[in-house]
């Protein structure tokens, strides 16, 4: 019985960076050989969510949404577009961050589709946040003397979005590895604008819980935190703000280890992934000396829908 992994993501009509992490994670997983086929599908790019199941021939398909939280996309758009006609959000039996898997026969192709919860709420996403801190500081042992801010949208559009941020901030704190850990938001208190007010330690790693870089992570957040007056001119990593050193990590979804979370989702749903999880974990480790330094200016143009990781209603 052949098995396929399908990563589904938002994508963008304006910003090519939106789909880049999705492709990269798909490539990482493809290289493990754990699946007969690995495919990607998008809301705004091709193949569309509507047609992505047709691009794989396997009978068992594990669909993993590269989204941060449960909400409009994971509960309405994706199941509808994949034509999981039997879909009922109750089948996930989720408290807002505990969706695991629900299995259906796709109306379109007759395949058995294991529809998994989003990567953003999986427990191993915490490890990706920590790995992101290692990457941006270029220090595999970063922790003592450093603070971590996990940044999300806030509840304005989706209360589950804030739940996911809190969940991971708590888990990072529980590791006891960092001196201080906070959850911060773009559109509510505690606000990311005031990031330096919330930390006593000098060095703070700021990790936005977004799947891809776009308007929010490249323009809004850097400007809000005072890293730069104009995102087009770029900023340093770390950048000094109010006597703090801000290590701005950019979207967590660009961290190679995210591929592992997708694998974990599929494994939880019953896929046979062999040693792929451990393999990816090892292959994506931070080797000292490959990060930090200047942060290139954000790409030109303002992304309409680059907020790929959010539950924005588009």
């Amino acid at each position: 019985m052949s098995q396929a992994l399908v990563l589904v993501a938002h994508g963008s009509h304006l910003n090519p960076d939106s789909s880049t992490p999705t492709y990269e994670h798909a490539d990482t997983i493809r290289d493990t050989g754990a699946f007969d086929e690995v495919a990607t599908g998008f809301w705004k790019e091709e193949p569309s969510l509507r047609e992505v199941l047709r691009t794989v021939e396997s009978d068992e398909v594990y669909v993993v949404p590269l989204f941060i939280s449960e909400g409009y996309f994971t509960e309405q758009v994706i199941p509808r577009e994949l034509r999981l006609d039997e879909w009922d959000v109750a089948d996930w039996d989720s408290d807002g961050i505990s969706a695991d898997v629900a299995t259906y026969t796709a109306e379109d192709t007759g395949q058995t589709v294991h529809y998994c919860g989003p990567v953003g709420t999986h427990r191993t996403m915490t490890d990706v946040i920590v790995r992101r801190a290692e990457t941006v500081t270029d220090d595999p042992a970063v922790g003592e003397g450093f603070g971590v801010a996990v940044v999300g949208h806030g509840t304005e559009r989706n209360e589950n979005s804030a739940k996911a941020i809190q969940y991971h901030a708590d888990r990072v704190r529980d590791t006891g590895r960092f001196s201080e850990v906070r959850d911060l938001y773009m559109d509510e208190d505690p606000e990311v604008d005031d990031v330096t007010d919330f930390f006593e330690v000098t060095d703070v790693v700021v990790v936005p819980l977004f799947v891809a870089d776009g308007y929010h992570t490249k323009e809004d957040i850097p400007e809000d935190m005072g890293l730069t007056d104009d995102y087009r001119t770029g900023y340093d990593v770390p950048e000094t703000v109010d006597g703090h050193q801000i290590w701005y990590a950019g979207a967590v979804g660009t961290e190679p280890l995210l591929a592992d979370v997708a694998l974990e989702r599929a494994a939880d749903a019953g896929a046979d992934v062999g040693s792929a999880v451990a393999d990816v974990r090892e292959a994506t480790q931070v080797a000292a000396g490959d990060a930090g330094g200047d942060h290139a200016p954000a790409s030109e143009g303002r992304a309409d829908d680059g907020r790929a990781g959010t539950e924005a209603d588009d």
């Binding site: 910003n15 492709y23 705004k44 091709e46 193949p47 569309s48 047609e51 758009v77 509808r80």
Partner: protein, 407 residues
């Protein structure tokens, strides 16, 4: 043919070690059977029975039918798959007949006739690719058989061992010196090639006719071909195959708009029960062959065809895409406005100049207009002159404000 291939033929003829559920050799006009008095070998041109193994080898050696069988039935197999059908298309081999042949593959007697018939009326199988007999295909493959798929030019050739190799390049570079093209062998490289147009602008619609050139996949096997094509044009092979087999599901405008939610839900309100002119305009704006290489099969609804031609693309578009839906959202808002009467004066040439400028933008011709070509109505100096003359300081044409005072 080499020993391995001959062994495969004998094994298949004797029903031993057949790699899938198709017993015997009965394909595209070739039949080989092992009976009590030796082997039987049959093609549309010859029939021989009672052959020894050595005699069979003499017949099989250099037989285009055997080469053909070995490639399709021993190497490719994958019956009923879109990828197999796509590679059949690349050499003008019957597609639907191939599939039908496969469906009743256990009934050996009926098959030869089916496959044979497929060769002669293969034009039904794929209207844009002419079908040829096995020897014709074999001869043509030595020279290279060329088909097109959107802006891809695909050339199939016969490898030394009788299997196929495929070259993919941009249609506009058919005659380009390979030394001027960058060679690729990983199908996924197509992702990066397709990301930006020749002027480095992002291509949100993969089937826009703006694929950049300068590259070549010189030597793909059949799976590599299918994967490369599906990377350039995702899901097009799957949808084309459904169309070939009569199973394409088309979602018309009304269906697609009707299921939108969130910020796109508003598009439903654009259909006001006052006809479908607005959808004609959408199709003309976005789906014309000059804008998209898919052939639009969706209509207003399943009873109402649009008045605009769907185009000549090789592969179908089965529903309005996300680019069209996003544009329709904008038009829904714009088209809810009521017309106003504005009054300002233009000379006849100025009116024509405005029309020509709109045309130049709509046809993507702006970059072609030479700087000093002031005879061209859409020339930049001409546009700047008109703006200097007709706009007031607030950018109002003819000095007439957009929002007019009441009454």
């Amino acid at each position: 043919m080499d020993d391995r291939q001959f062994d495969a033929l004998v094994a298949a003829a004797s029903d031993a070690a057949v790699p899938d559920d198709r017993p015997g050799v009965d394909f595209d006009g070739l039949r080989v059977d092992q009976t009590d008095d030796g082997f039987a070998f049959e093609t549309p041109e010859t029939t021989a029975t009672g052959l020894s193994r050595g005699e069979l080898r003499d017949r099989a050696d250099d037989s285009p039918y055997v080469r053909n069988w070995f490639f399709w039935e021993w190497t490719v197999r994958s019956h009923d798959s879109p990828r197999r059908a796509f590679c059949r298309r690349a050499e003008g081999a019957p597609i639907v007949a191939d599939a039908a042949d496969d469906a009743d593959g256990s009934d050996g007697d009926a098959d030869a006739g089916d496959a044979d018939a497929g060769d002669t009326d293969g034009s039904d199988a794929d209207s844009d690719t002419e079908s040829h007999s096995v020897p014709e295909r074999d001869a043509a493959l030595r020279e290279g058989m060329v088909t097109e798929w959107g802006q891809l030019r695909i050339e199939a050739t016969l490898a030394a061992d009788g299997t196929r190799r495929y070259e993919v390049r941009h249609v506009d570079e058919a005659d380009a010196d390979p030394a001027t093209l960058t060679d690729h062998d990983d199908p996924l490289d197509a992702r990066e090639i397709a990301e930006r147009d020749a002027r480095d602008r992002y291509r949100p619609l993969k089937t826009a006719p703006t694929l950049a050139g300068g590259w070549r996949f010189p030597d793909l096997d059949w799976q590599g071909l299918a994967r490369t094509v599906e990377t350039f044009y995702p899901a097009t092979v799957a949808n084309w195959y459904r169309e070939q087999t009569g199973e394409l599901d088309v979602d018309h405008w009304r269906d697609t708009v009707g299921r939108q939610s969130g910020i796109y839900g508003v598009v439903k309100t654009w259909d006001r029960g006052e006809g479908y002119d607005h959808v004609n305009w959408v199709a003309e704006a976005c789906c014309d062959d000059s804008q998209c290489v898919k052939r639009r099969e969706w209509q207003y609804d399943d009873e109402t065809d649009l008045d605009v031609d769907g185009g000549d693309g090789a592969f179908p578009c089965r529903e309005p895409c996300s680019v069209v839906v996003a544009a329709a959202r904008k038009w829904t808002r714009l088209e809810s406005e009521q017309p106003e009467t504005y009054e300002f004066e233009l000379t006849p040439s100025e009116k024509e100049q405005l029309e020509a400028t709109l045309d130049a933008v709509a046809d993507g011709r702006v970059d072609e207009i030479r700087e000093a070509d002031v005879k061209d109505d859409a020339n930049r100096y001409r546009a700047r002159f008109l703006r200097a003359k007709l706009f007031d300081d607030d950018g109002n044409l003819g000095g007439v404000p957009t929002d007019q005072p009441e009454g």
